[in-house]
Every structure is written in C-alpha cells, then in structure tokens.
Amino acid sequence: MGTADAIVVDRLVKRYGDLTAVADISFSVRRGSIFGLLGRNGAGKTTTLESCIGLIAPTSGTVRVLGFDPADRRDLARLRPRMGVQLQATSLPEKATVGELLRLYGTYYGLRGNPASVASRVGLGDKLDRFAGKLSGGEQQRLALALALQHDPDVLFLDEPTSGMDVYGRHVLWREIGALRSSGKTMILTTHYIEEAEHLCDEICIVQTGKIVARDTPAALVARYGGDASIEFAARGFSVGAALAGLGRWAHDGDRYTLVARGEPGHALAKIVEYANALGVTIAALDLHRPSLEDAFLAITGERIEDPRSEAA
C-alpha cells in the first residue's frame, strides 16, 4: 500500500451474530480512479462501503481512507470534510427545498456559496425552489449526489447511485461521475447494474457472499472469464471445409451454422466470408456475439445478477 492508494481495505470481516456479511475482503483503490463493487443484493457490497465511512465497525480487519481509520472517532472527524457520500434511501425533509438543503449542507462544510451551480451540474438548476418531497425518485438521487459533492471532497462513496433512476437521470449521473474522475476524485461505488460497472469503473471487484471472487479492469475480466466470441449465420449450400475447421468449434442445424471462435473473431469472419465467396454461397442473418461483462459475471459467480430494470425500487 503506497500513497498512490486512496482507500485500502485489508482482511475486512463483519459478522452479525451467526451471519457473516463480509468474510475477508481486501482491496485498494488508486487515487483518481473509480472502483466498483459489483454483486447481487446481499453480497456484502453495502457493508463493505459502510465500513469505509465509519457507519459500520468491522469485526476484524482494517480500513484506511486517505490514511485515516474510519473506525476511529478522531480519524473519522478529520476524514468527514474530505469525503462525500451518497447513501441509498435517505429521505430528506419533505418541506425542504432543493436550494435550502444545498445551502444548509454547505454550512456543514463551511461553504457560503450560491447552490445554483452545483444544482445545475446534476440537472436540478431549474428546481431550486422545489420541495424535496415533490421530487421524483431520480431527482432525489441527483440531489443526494449534489449534497455529496458540493464541498469538493477528495473521495466519494456512492451506494447504488442510479438504483431506480430513469434513463435521463442515469445519463446525467454517469456524465457527472465521469467529470469527477477527470478532475482527479477517487470514487468507490456499489452497483448491481453490470452496464454501470462496465461503463464507469476503472476496476471492478465482483463480490459474492461476502468475498471478492474476481478483481480486474472490466476489459480484462471479460477477456479472462467472458469466454469466446461466437459467429452465427445462415447459408444455403455451405459446408465447413478443412480451411475453416481450425477456427474453433463448429455446429450446424440445417442451414444455420455456429462457430465458437478461438481467438479474435474478426479474423475468423474474414475467413468465412472468403470461403463462402469461393463456394459462391450467400451468407445471411449474420450475428457476431462478443462476450460481455455479464458473461464474465455468470462464469465467475455461476449465477445471473438480477435484472435491475425489473425492480420497482
């Protein structure tokens, strides 16, 4: 662990009686990067995140954030001004306006500014006078993000930041998180949206039943665990000749052919087209399936992540 790491979690364990929420998790997060904890609900992501911000005292193991121990009162007091947190499901006072909340939370950090600019960063610039209780779920989450970032923290903790958000809200949030990364912030987020982890994170930990089962960049996880690309097409009068047999595993059902390609599928595709041309056969209904993070997740954990969009929450 060097000073290049903003967050270091070492052999973290959290037990509640007989229930083990986190069983031995270790990772570190480089300064200026976005780190994602990806897993199903109940995998231990939130417990891990809350151990980093002093909401949960670890049963054993250590956590350091910017060199501070969040389980220590004094360290936590020094850490608080430098961290920003967006929690799941905080309900803000219903009769409070967006502007009032931003201003009040600003006073917690010694800010005396106009909240209009931070509000417009999260797309709430025209809603400063709107009551928090009248905001949509997605707007409330964008407000929660604004409350987390307006004091320019060095490290941000986002717990399921886009859960239940509409497409626009997610887009705004992703854009904002990207901008924060460019400005050098360190972020750690939990998510059960594969797409979100793949789109945002420099590095992903896949968490299953309180343990890290894989950790790498999204591309490396896909390359290592996602399996091979496959090519599917229909071609009347086609046959797999000797020149094609070495490209991978072939299967066919009538005129429909499937190749699970070994290596780069582009190369295989070129060979197939060339061969078909030589035969004078037309290729139709061609599909190229590249492995995704979802395939990698399934291969690693042996289970599918819940379909996030089917959740009402």
């Binding site: 803000l92 006072p93 219903e94 006073t107 917690y108 924060l180």
Partner: protein, 262 residues
C-alpha cells in the same frame, strides 16, 4: 460542465463553525417543521388558546378568571410535555428511521449541534406558545404573571430541560417512528389530565392525588403555577425542583446508555 471547469470551481476552503451550523439548522427546522406545516401551526398555536377559552368557562372553579389562572400555566406545561415527547423524542426516532441521522453523521456537523438545533427550534416554538397563552389569559381573563421573571423563566427552563431529557428516552428506547409517536401521545395526553395541568388533581381522592404528585409532570406544573401565577418564592419549590433534576439526570443516563445515532 467540463472537467477543467469543475477542477477550478470556486470553492473557498471552508471555515467551519458549529455555531453557524446551529443557527442555520435551527432556522431550517423552524421553517420545515413549523412554518410550512399548517397542521403544526394549528395544533401548536390555535388549539391551546381555544382550550384556554373554552375550559376557563367550562371548568367550574367559581369564576372563569380563577379557572383561567389555573389553566394558563397548566396549558403552558402541557406544551412543555409535548415539546419533549413529540418535538424531540418522537422526532429523533423519525429522523433515525428516515436515515437522516445517518446522513448527517457523515458530515462535519457535530451530532450535538444537530440535537441542540432541534431543541432550540422547539424552545422557540414553546416561547411563542407561552407568550400567546399568557397574552390570551391577560386580555380575555385578566390573569397576570406576577412572579419574578427570572424565577418564572428559570422554572420553565428546568421543566423544559427535564421533558426534553425524558423525550430523548423515547428516542433511545423505541425502535420505530410509529411507536415513538404512539408513545409520545400516550404520555402527553394522559399526563396533561393527571398532572394538575388541565384539571385540579385535588378533585381526585386524596391517595390518588398523592400518588400523582410523584410524577415529574405534576411537580413541574405545581411549581410553575405557584411561582408564575401565585407569585410564590422559588425556594418554596426547592423539593420539587430537586426531584425534577433527578428525573432529568435519570433520563440522561438512560439516553446516554441506549441512544443510537445510526
């Protein structure tokens, strides 16, 4: 907004002051939970005055003025009970259930500052309620607060502190906002009737009246009424005031042991 603009966003390095946070938080509490809540305004200001006028005529203590002299301090005391049980105790349980306490815990706002702002807001409201009741008593029934102003404020502050402390016990022991609210009403309403606030406990059989004098609410009501309206010297109630201090100390001990901020 571009990344470069973000990096240079005008953010002065903060000078954090808990005092400034306290004032801002108190003001927002007042606006959010009182000023913008019509029901709250109605129940906390209009209803006590309505009770004063109606009960003064209905109580049958010889004259409406005598009844009013009894009721002005009694109704103020009932507001003290509800400030503690509802205003502080049930509110804290609600804030915890809504995860607002967790959210605030993650900021540099000191939990004590947050708590003080809640108390300060309720004390401001209590001052408004007391002023309104005293004015109504004076204008309608010619009831006057004759006690030494410092003694009156002193006993009121002691009572308020005691019931805020007792209120935090609800916030500490009760898990959900709903049951905290139920506890607050179960305590506030009967106590107002059984503690010499709305009706004289001398109307009860003597042993019952004696038993009721063991309640901190009765002790506070009697001391407050005696000092404020009947102009008795504060040391007449030294015993009751000592009892209130004990109640407060016990309540603080229980809250300190069991209150969970997150």
């Amino acid at each position: 907004m571009s990344a470069a603009a973000l990096a240079t966003a005008p953010l002065e390095r903060p000078r954090r002051s808990q005092f400034r946070m306290l004032l801002a938080q108190t003001r927002m509490n007042f606006v959010w939970y009182f000023w913008r809540d019509g029901e709250m305004i109605f129940w906390s200001l209009a209803i006590p005055v309505f009770f004063l006028v109606v009960f003064s005529f209905a109580l049958g203590m010889g004259s409406a003025q005598r009844a009013s002299a009894f009721l002005v301090p009694g109704l103020i005391a009932a507001q003290v009970f509800s400030s503690g049980f509802w205003g502080v105790g049930a509110m804290l349980a609600t804030f915890r259930e809504k995860k607002l306490l967790r959210r605030v815990y993650l900021t540099p706002l000191n939990p004590w500052t947050f708590f003080s702002a809640l108390v300060l807001y309720r004390m401001t409201l209590l001052a408004m309620q007391a002023t309104l009741l005293i004015l109504a008593g004076a204008l309608v029934f010619k009831v006057h607060v004759v006690g030494n102003p410092f003694a009156v404020l002193g006993i009121l502050a002691l009572g308020a502190a005691t019931f805020v402390a007792l209120g935090t016990v609800i916030g500490a022991l009760v898990k959900t906002a709903e049951s905290a609210n139920n506890f607050a009403s179960v305590l506030t309403v009967p106590l107002s009737f059984l503690s010499d606030a709305y009706i004289p406990i001398n109307n009860f059989p003597a042993p019952v009246a004696h038993a009721l004098r063991l309640l901190p609410s009765t002790q506070f009501v009697d001391a407050f009424r005696g000092i404020a309206i009947y102009g008795e010297p504060i040391w007449h109630y030294a015993g009751w005031m000592g009892a209130l201090v004990l109640w407060m100390a016990g309540a603080i001990a229980v809250s300190a042991r069991y209150f969970r901020w997150i």
